[in-house]
């Protein structure tokens, strides 16, 4: 009896609180859905921290001005890295927590069904860093994505290769492809071949391997035998280490190896290889060495004890995109927020962390302006060398 009574009074209290909150209009609930437990919890944490930093900045600066200084309240959801849990969490956030929009959820495999649930429930879903091309290719009205599509990693690789002539005088006409043979390597390589063909660059050979192979000397020798101008790779970490060592052993350091943000961006790549990694080129979503990036990176480092990564950078950006859309919508209504996102045009400025002039969404909900940084290992650090506007150092050949 006592239990029922206190439960009833708690419910009444909760109702009173939520009523007063919405009456005063001083919080807007935004769902934040990431894998906060499970295998990739550490990466989920980076997403969480990036988003939190942006929302804290918005709230500290007075909240959403058009809504009387309303504050954004993040409501956390945990996908555990599982698609079915992701769907359940979307439903919970929408139906029980009454969020106005959801940001998430890092893994493409979870984001695909989660956006489907959000579409059904009519709630805007902002994908910060799940890259599967398909996510914005299904004609959804409520799905928006800031980050590049997976195939654009190959596009920017080729874009960089084309720019090498202007940057260094090296005219690339023939390349070799070297990649691991699962979906990651195969689909990126398909993009490489497409964009290379468009650029009129010849593919001399395509060498595929299993990433668990104990040695890749023969595969690298196969690449060496055709004498390419550059080598485009798609690698995981362990095979990257084997390839880098074989490249050094075979005296191929004059031939640039250019990776597509694979195992080469793991801090272990530099740590395990030391000098052997010198000259390697790869792509990243964020680098603290880009002009102006260090200020935000220092702030993030002080708060969370780590550098900003691609995940946290795009989560941070998502926070400001939501803030911008709320300001223009002047409402926490899901459809008004959805329309504000569709009309997004956020210029470069102090809330822009991406190497681009402005962020907007095309009619598929995709941000077309999501270039990657190309970085090169120079004296033991990865410095940005492309796009030229954001380069800190020149490419070394």
């Amino acid at each position: 009896m006592i239990g029922l009574k206190s439960a009833l009074s708690l419910t009444a209290l909760a109702l009173a609180l939520s009523a007063s909150a919405s009456a005063a209009g001083n919080t807007i609930k935004i769902g934040a859905l990431f894998p906060l437990s499970g295998d990739v919890a550490k990466l989920g944490e980076a997403n969480k921290n990036g988003l939190r930093l942006a929302v804290d900045e918005i709230n500290a600066a007075g909240g959403i001005a058009s809504m009387g200084g309303a504050k954004i309240e993040l409501v956390w959801g945990d996908t555990q890295g599982k698609p079915e849990i992701g769907i359940g969490e979307v439903t919970r956030l929408v139906e029980q927590e009454k969020v106005s929009a959801i940001v998430g959820c890092f893994q493409s495999s979870v984001t695909l069904p989660a956006t489907q649930a959000a579409e059904r429930l009519g709630v805007p879903f902002l994908d910060n860093i799940a890259t599967s091309d398909k996510i914005t290719e299904r004609g959804f009205k409520y799905t928006f994505r800031i980050c590049p599509k997976a195939s654009w990693y190959a596009k920017d690789q080729v874009g960089f290769v084309k720019d090498l002539k202007a940057l260094t005088g090296k005219n690339v006409t023939k390349v070799a492809l070297l990649h691991e043979n699962t979906d990651f390597g195969e689909s990126t390589a398909a993009g490489q071949k497409k964009y290379l063909q468009e650029a009129g660059i010849q593919v001399l050979i395509e060498v595929k391997y299993s990433a668990s192979a104990p040695d890749l000397t023969t595969e690298v020798a196969k690449v060496k035998a055709v004498n390419p101008d550059v080598v485009l790779t798609v690698v995981y970490l362990n095979d990257a280490v084997l390839i880098a060592r074989a490249r050094e052993a075979m005296g191929m350091t004059k031939i640039p190896f250019i990776d597509a943000a694979g195992g080469t961006i793991d801090p272990q790549f530099l740590k395990q290889l030391g000098k052997t990694a010198e000259g390697w080129i790869t792509e990243v979503e964020f680098t603290k060495f880009a002009p102006g990036a260090n200020v935000l990176n220092d702030k993030y480092f002080n708060a969370f004890g780590e550098d900003i990564t691609g995940d946290s950078a795009y989560a941070y950006q998502a926070g400001w995109v939501i803030g911008d859309a709320l300001q223009r919508a002047a409402s926490s209504d899901r459809n008004m927020l959805r329309n504000a996102l569709a009309k997004m045009d956020m210029p470069a400025g102090k809330h822009m962390i991406l190497p681009t002039n402005h962020i907007f969404f095309d009619n598929t909900g995709q941000n077309p302006n999501a270039p990657l940084f190309v970085v090169q290992v120079q004296n033991g650090t990865m410095v940005p060398v492309w796009p030229a506007k954001y380069a800190a150092k020149k490419v070394q050949m």
């Binding site: 395509e206 391997y209 299993s210 104990p214 040695d215 020798a221 970490l237 050094e248 272990q268």
Partner: protein, 292 residues
Amino acid sequence: MVFSLALLGQALVTGLLIGGIFSLVSVGLSMIWGVMRIINFAHGEFLMVAMYIAFFLVAKGGWDPYLTILVTAPALFLIGMLIFQLTIRPILKDPPINLILLTVGISLILQSLALMFFKADVRSANTIYTHMNIMLGSVVIRGPQLISFVGAGVAALALYWLLHKTDIGGAIRATAQNSAAATLVGVNVRNTYLLAFGIGSASLGVAASLIIPFYYASPTVGQFFGLIAYVVVVLGGLGNFLGSLIAGLIIGLTESVGAAVLPGSLARLATFGLFIVMLLFRPQGILGGKQR
């Protein structure tokens, strides 16, 4: 498709050197089968454990990688005997399926423990040997792979000597040939099983120390070497010592030459294609049936 003598030379050299390690990894598995008719499905995971020991001694303790044999071999000898005594011995007389389930279970437990303690990170040690290379014309011989090949040869000779020139070896071989008869002539079969399992495991300790300068430790590294070892052992003839050594080299050469001449990712196909052909036409293995 590219093909050149330099590439073929490179493939042959690399394949032979890697094959040496395949031989050493497989020979213990073969011996354990020969003596007590057990396929140890945790064989690869034993190697993984030894590789972590070697890695941490090198990376954290600053040891010379080849000196770590002094720790990895005895450690695996003891771990092998302990696991045998506690888990395998009690069900040794059970139907073979129980032993398969047991050793598969042990392999899963070891993998999960490694994942729990060391995360999914791959760890490779940067040693002074890692960057040693010898150029033969346009063919590069990777220093640590050459050392591992020689080391595997020495270890195989030592194992051969142990099996053929010592009393323990005599007991092991006698047990392998006929355990009932061995018991009659006074061989303690129970202890022989224990020792054979320990020695078979210790050979993985040696292999791990030889591998770590050019490869990496990870929770799943045992799956790759385990699979190779089963193929090698069957190819060489179950329980055949010399057969395993030769089959290891053949598999190494097949993988490497396959990678050089076959397009795309068909290199693996060459290895397992060879395996299937052997099973169909010569299931007793290349040297099977002649010697055991």
